[in-house]
Amino acid sequence: MLNNYFKKMVYRRALREIAKLQQLLCSSYFVQENNDKQVHQQRIRVLSTIRKNKCHVDELNHIADIIFSLNQLRHRIKDFSIFEVCSRELNDIASTSVAFIQDAVKFSAIFSEKIHQFETLYHNTLRVVAPDPLVFLFFIQDLYALHEKVNQLRP
């Protein structure tokens, strides 16, 4: 029983570290200052915390990989002004995804709703104004993957 408790604690800690990484990465959409060092240190923390887990290692690794995949958006968008077009929706995605990773039960519905809102914005606006709209489609697909994978880990 105590063993299970410790396992759960380590696994929750891993999710907390992943959420912190997601928060750091999301902040770089809006502020063009360099936070590479913090991001690198947090990535190391995420990978080493996942390795300490005795169970769900593959699932946690997969969630971390999705976060890395989501982060590709900031390398793919060269014109930062495009983020202004979707700043409100992207902000919502940032805050709800971080909350959702830490507490999937409580924030699943709201995160899903925010993904749908972002998708609507993609269809109505981003598909027309973004220089390469495909990268937003990839982003949305990865958000759905994150939603699915974290929900599969729900206790």
Binding site: D36, Q41, R43, R51, A64, I66, S69, H75, L134, V135
Partner: protein, 188 residues
């Protein structure tokens, strides 16, 4: 100093090369065990990236060159993890069958390219010329478009198509980063 950095970078590139090849195996043959092993080795390499390369106000030309090189290696690691996520997806077997040949040709070119960078870092001469992989990635993309003649509208409804389009997009980014690494070799 240069030798010391090379000693750290070479195992990192070796690890990334093997991880990349195992991701291709996972995608085409659903071979998961090797990918898990290679991932662990790549993770250790990823974590060994020296912290000093982050300061952005470095003025010494060689330091700038080294920093650029390490930033690109860092991005290479992120792309590989991201590709691993996409490779988990069970793609349609017909699609995999159709694209397997150009994909294997491209992955072999990537392997040769990374080997060439390692040879230069080992301060040895290249025995043969290495191509820029442009033709092989173009062929892969063309083959994908033949099998899945996609438009943005079609991508909206097909998860297979979006994921594979993203995978090809990442292969192109990987190629671009490798070219940048080769260019930066002179400055490290």
């Amino acid at each position: 100093m240069r030798n010391e950095i090379n000693k750290k970078i070479i195992p990192m590139l070796e690890a990334y090369k093997n991880y990349f090849l195992s991701i291709i195996d996972l995608l085409l043959r659903r071979e998961m065990s090797d990918c898990a092993v290679q991932r662990k080795i790549a993770e250790i390499a990823f974590q060994a990236l020296p912290n000093w390369y982050y300061p952005t106000r470095v003025k010494i030309p060689f330091e700038v060159g080294r920093r650029f090189f390490l930033v690109k290696i860092d991005q290479l690691g992120e792309i590989l993890f991201s590709m691993h996520h996409l490779a988990h997806y069970s793609f349609d077997s017909f699609l995999l069958e159709q694209i397997s040949e150009p994909l294997l040709i491209f992955s072999n070119k990537v392997k040769q390219f990374i080997d060439a960078i390692i040879t230069v870092l080992n301060l040895k001469d290249l025995s043969e010329q290495v191509g820029d992989m442009a033709q092989s990635i173009a062929r892969l993309e063309q083959q994908f478009r033949t099998v899945v003649p996609y438009t943005t509208e079609l991508l909206d409804v097909s998860k297979d198509a979006v994921y594979f389009a993203e995978f090809i997009f990442e292969l192109k980014e990987l190629r671009f980063i490798l070219l940048k690494l080769a260019e930066a070799l002179r400055s490290i």
